[in-house]
């Protein structure tokens, strides 16, 4: 199957593989240790899946804001994203 029209690159492949791996890890985690939804600082009920979604969406905006204000590279922004995701999983 010719996938050259999709214009794959190594960084974008790593990006999508990371998201797919995160989803797989979340599924295994949910099977091994089922979580009940909880109410965090946003005062809304969230499951770990919701928290992953909030982390990914928020991280996208953090990276965009970093690009807008500081430009590339965005390695520091990725560190901020990891801290943000950890905070979401801990408190949201």
């Amino acid at each position: 199957m010719d996938l050259s029209w999709m214009g794959w690159t190594l960084p974008t492949a790593i990006f999508f593989i990371s998201i797919a791996l995160a989803l797989v890890v979340m599924i295994i985690w949910a099977i091994k240790a089922p979580h009940a939804p909880r109410v965090g600082i946003l005062r809304i009920e969230t499951t770990p899946g919701d928290r992953l979604f909030i982390s990914l969406l928020g991280s996208a905006f953090i990276c965009l804001a970093w690009l807008a204000f500081f430009g590339s590279p965005i390695w520091e922004a990725l560190i901020v994203c990891l801290l943000y995701a950890a905070s979401v999983f801990k408190w949201v």
């Binding site: 214009g7 960084p11 974008t12 965009l64």
Partner: protein, 291 residues
């Protein structure tokens, strides 16, 4: 009684997952791949990193289009939501010929394809052959949507209100129909005013459908393309060039696929964020109502 847990039901979701993969995930992956590369066709790509994102984030042209888009969406929601509620409140509640006729009349604009709506209003607004344009001209109003930005905006807003208020009306009407008579009887016994009935009975009962209506109208108006493109083509100048029109100009007109991909990803993220906020508020208010 102990609940049976059977995870095999997840296999039922498989066909939808495959469908979504082909219709959304694979195209989205392609857009992400294009957003970090430059291409001149023939499947030849050159890595540029995050350059296109930086370009889009600092582009004045896109900032202007975003401003116009936000203004358009705010105006549309400010007009269509109250107007939809108003019309729904004045539609006959009892089932019968009159209510069926009203429903058909209200639903009619929703049945017309977007490009046809655009064509209808393009002709309707023309000074030489269109009824609206001719009448305004006869009244001495300088109306020409091809040359005057204000006239172009008015035409597009009125066209959208005509096309989409029906959706809000139908959703609100469904919400109103679901209110049991007992609520109105209790309000009558308490001698509640018309405003009190609306504020404390009808509006809370319509909250769920209203949030859906706002979400749908936000998404549709924020992504509007066909109607303004058919009526004004984004003009005069760039006066009605909204985000999607600008995006298509960039992707197809200029064949700047890389910047267009970066632009569409940012556009997608904004819509995703707002839709998620609406969805969360909707689900949250439902669970609060139930508890």
């Amino acid at each position: 009684m102990k609940k049976t847990i059977n995870q095999k039901a997840w296999f039922m979701v498989l066909p939808v997952l495959i469908l979504v993969a082909f219709s959304a995930v694979i195209p989205l992956m392609t857009v992400v791949n294009y957003s970090v590369q430059d291409t001149f066709g023939n499947n030849e790509f050159f890595w540029v990193g995050l350059e296109w994102f930086e370009e889009v984030l600092h582009s004045e042209r896109i900032h202007d289009a975003l401003g116009r888009q936000a203004l358009f969406t705010i105006i549309i929601l400010t007009i269509e939501i109250p107007l939809g509620i108003f019309v729904a409140l004045h539609m006959p509640k009892r089932s019968g010929l009159w209510s069926s006729l009203c429903l058909v009349l209200v639903a009619l604009p929703l049945l017309i394809p977007w490009n046809v709506v655009g064509t209808i209003w393009q002709i309707f607004g023309r000074v030489d052959i269109g009824l609206l344009g001719y009448m305004l001209d006869q009244m001495g109003i300088d109306y020409n949507y091809t040359q005057n930005s204000f006239a172009a905006w008015c035409t597009i807003i009125v066209m959208d209100v005509w096309h989409w208020t029906s959706l809000v009306v139908l959703l609100c009407y469904a919400g109103l129909k679901s209110i049991p008579d007992a609520y109105y009887q209790a309000a009558k016994i308490d001698q509640a005013s018309r405003w009190a009935v609306f504020r404390y009975i009808e509006l809370p009962k319509m909250k769920g459908v209203l949030l859906i209506a706002i979400l749908l109208r936000f998404m549709d108006s924020f992504m509007i393309y066909t109607e303004p493109f058919v009526v004004t083509g984004g003009g005069p100048g760039n006066a009605t060039t909204f985000l999607s029109i600008d995006l298509v100009k960039m992707a197809i007109g200029q064949f700047d696929l890389g910047p267009a991909a970066a632009f569409s990803l940012i556009y997608f993220l904004v819509i995703l964020l707002v839709s998620w906020v609406f969805y969360t508020v909707m689900v949250h208010s439902d669970t609060k109502d139930m508890s």
